[in-house]
């Protein structure tokens, strides 16, 4: 099986601070991959580099075997493979455009007739449980949960094979975060999408990802299959992280 994303020796400094310090990893196609770490670990910078929003000082990123190039032609090609889901997906909808306009933009990029875009969109909206009427609204007129789904629908309209979600549950209540995570898992399975989840929430990554890396200060501390990575961590830092996580223990609950 080929790699969806492979990174070798990614290095980046912002002035004095080292943001990425020789990060290498590969993400297999069709799997779910977790990147965990605390603030300043470089996980978000890594995501921005993968998306081409941040240039590296050294190192190489390959997306579906193609080296990442910073040109408009390459960006256009890449947009069809890889799409982000930003930390606050509601904020990734342009506030002064109707959702219809935002969706049609995707069709224009794909050089697809509006009717065809609308037809595909109808299917996606239905699948995400969104009423067809949302497309006539402005982003501020819909609820936060709906905006989150609209942002995901827009990404899916590009028919990507890789989705990168940055802190998908940040700021969400426990009672609703599961909804989003279940949705992401469903999409991944049915569309055979490679899902990369960047999160500080270890418990969630443990459940959703098949493989993961733990990052700290721009370096990959430890990585591997999730069961062994979290079940028997080799590095002290990983153990500290797991120990510090405030969580009800499954063993304690009767049910």
């Amino acid at each position: 099986m080929t790699d969806a994303i492979s990174i070798s020796n990614a290095q980046l400094r912002f002035g004095e601070t080292v943001a990425l310090d020789g990060v290498s990893l590969s993400i297999r196609r069709g799997t779910c991959f977790g990147i965990v770490g605390e603030s300043g670990s470089g996980k978000t910078t890594l995501m921005r580099a993968i998306l081409g929003l941040q240039r590296l000082d050294h190192g190489e990123i390959r997306i579906l075997c193609n080296p990442l190039v910073h040109s408009r032609a390459a960006l256009k090609q890449r947009a069809g493979f890889i799409q982000p889901i930003f930390q606050d997906p509601a904020a990734s909808l342009s506030p002064r455009s109707r959702i219809r306009t935002l969706m049609n933009e995707v069709g224009t990029v794909l050089r697809e007739p509006h009717a065809a875009t609308r037809e595909r969109l109808g299917v996606i909206l239905n699948r995400l449980g969104l009423p067809p009427g949302v497309i006539d609204k402005y982003p501020h007129e819909i609820s936060g949960g709906q905006a989150r789904r609209v942002a995901i629908a827009r990404a899916l309209l590009m028919k990507p094979s890789i989705l990168i979600a940055d802190e998908p549950t940040a700021g969400l209540d426990v009672s609703v975060q599961g909804d989003l995570l279940n949705l992401l898992q469903d999409i991944r399975r049915s569309d055979n999408i490679t899902l990369v989840v960047i999160s500080h929430n270890l418990a969630i990554v443990r459940l959703i990802a098949e493989n993961a890396v733990v990052m700290r200060a721009g370096k990959v501390v430890e990585g591997g299959e999730i069961g062994s990575l979290f079940g028997s961590p080799q590095e002290v830092y990983t153990r500290d992280l797991l120990a510090a996580w405030p969580s009800i223990r499954a063993a304690n609950t009767k049910r």
């Binding site: 209540d173 426990v174 975060q177 995570l181 500290d240 992280l241 405030p246 223990r249 063993a251 304690n252």
Partner: protein, 329 residues
């Protein structure tokens, strides 16, 4: 001496009408105990802290509520009812430590200021020593140097330690910590929680921990109160409530929490996350019956009409919940 808060109701007047942020919330915290007040966004948990401290916004109105702190009663419906307690009887730790720290003064100056109000007779040298000692107690590295530093020179975790040191010096009867670790990394969170516990044990105060995280409460608190849409639905010791939640909402909330030691199934479809379907009721129009009725998985006919009162769970005096299923016929 126990701290108690009785029948607190707070309204916010908004453009679209009056929102009832809290409806008749009562809490009790024993001396030397930490109570975790758990609620999701919109539950009104922060309003409890602000009402106690007298820091509510101008469009907020306390319509009822009394507090007993250090044996004295305070009528919270009066503006500045607890002003006399600020900095002495009560201290607060905010999510953002910069709300408690003045950016233009050094750490040392701010700690000494607390002492000057707390112990007016003391001389400067003793105050500096006491302040430095407090910084050492909250395990801030290199306390002598920190005294002369400004808040912006410290990291988020270090600032929160300084705020805890301030609380330590003011020796409050009640410490209110509103999401004190939400902005911090997990490893720092654990350290800060340990310092809060340490402070409580040192001065024997009551602590009100306001949080959205059940994990934090089960790990660090003695008692728990569950707030939903401005109403308290359940309270009891953490052990009891976790073992047998009296209210369906509490049970569902515990189910939503993902335990860190939950194993991943090889079959991806097995790795489902639990959710509570539905949405919060409109804070302006309270539906009749139980406030949680529309989202409840075990509701029955009476739930839509009867607003349940507090029933004991398993005849345990300290554990009660507002669910009609606990009603004894």
């Amino acid at each position: 001496m126990a701290i108690s808060l009785r029948n607190l109701s707070v309204d916010y007047s908004l453009q679209q009408g009056t929102a009832h942020a809290l409806r008749g919330v009562s809490l009790e915290i024993q001396e030397g105990e930490m109570l975790g007040l758990v609620g999701e966004s919109g539950s009104g948990k922060s309003t409890v802290a602000l009402a106690l401290m007298g820091l509510l916004a101008n469009n907020a109105q306390v319509t009822s509520g009394t507090a007993t702190i250090e044996g004295k009663n305070f009528d919270l419906t009066k503006r500045n009812a607890t002003a006399a307690l600020r900095g002495r009887g009560m201290a607060m730790i905010f999510q953002d430590p910069m709300l408690s720290l003045n950016p233009v003064f050094t750490i040392g100056a701010q700690l000494c200021e607390v002492l000057r109000r707390r112990a007016p007779g003391s001389d400067r040298k003793t105050r500096v020593e006491m302040a430095q000692d407090a910084l050492a107690k909250v395990k801030l590295s290199n306390p002598a140097r920190r005294m002369n530093q400004y808040p912006h020179e410290l990291s988020g975790g270090m600032r929160q330690r300084v705020v805890i040191a301030m609380a330590l010096l003011s020796e409050p009867a009640l410490l209110i910590a509103d999401e004190p670790t939400t902005a911090l990394d997990v490893t720092v969170e654990a350290q800060i929680m340990r310092e809060i516990i340490g402070l409580r044990d040192r001065i024997g105060c009551a602590v009100l921990l306001i949080t959205h995280s059940l994990g934090l409460v089960t790990e660090y608190c003695d008692a728990i109160s569950v707030l939903y849409a401005g109403e308290k639905l359940e309270s009891g010791t953490v052990e009891e409530v976790q073992r047998q939640p009296g209210h369906p909402y509490t049970r569902m909330l515990f189910d939503c929490e993902v335990p860190i030691d939950r194993q991943r199934h090889a079959d991806a479809s097995e790795n489902r996350f639990t959710v509570i379907a539905g949405e919060l009721p409109d804070p302006r129009l309270r539906p009749p019956g139980c406030i949680f009725n529309s989202r409840c998985d075990v509701s029955f006919e009476d739930c839509t009409t009867i607003n349940p009162s507090d029933y004991p769970v398993r005849n345990d005096a300290g554990h009660s919940a507002r669910c009609l299923r606990l009603r004894t016929p």
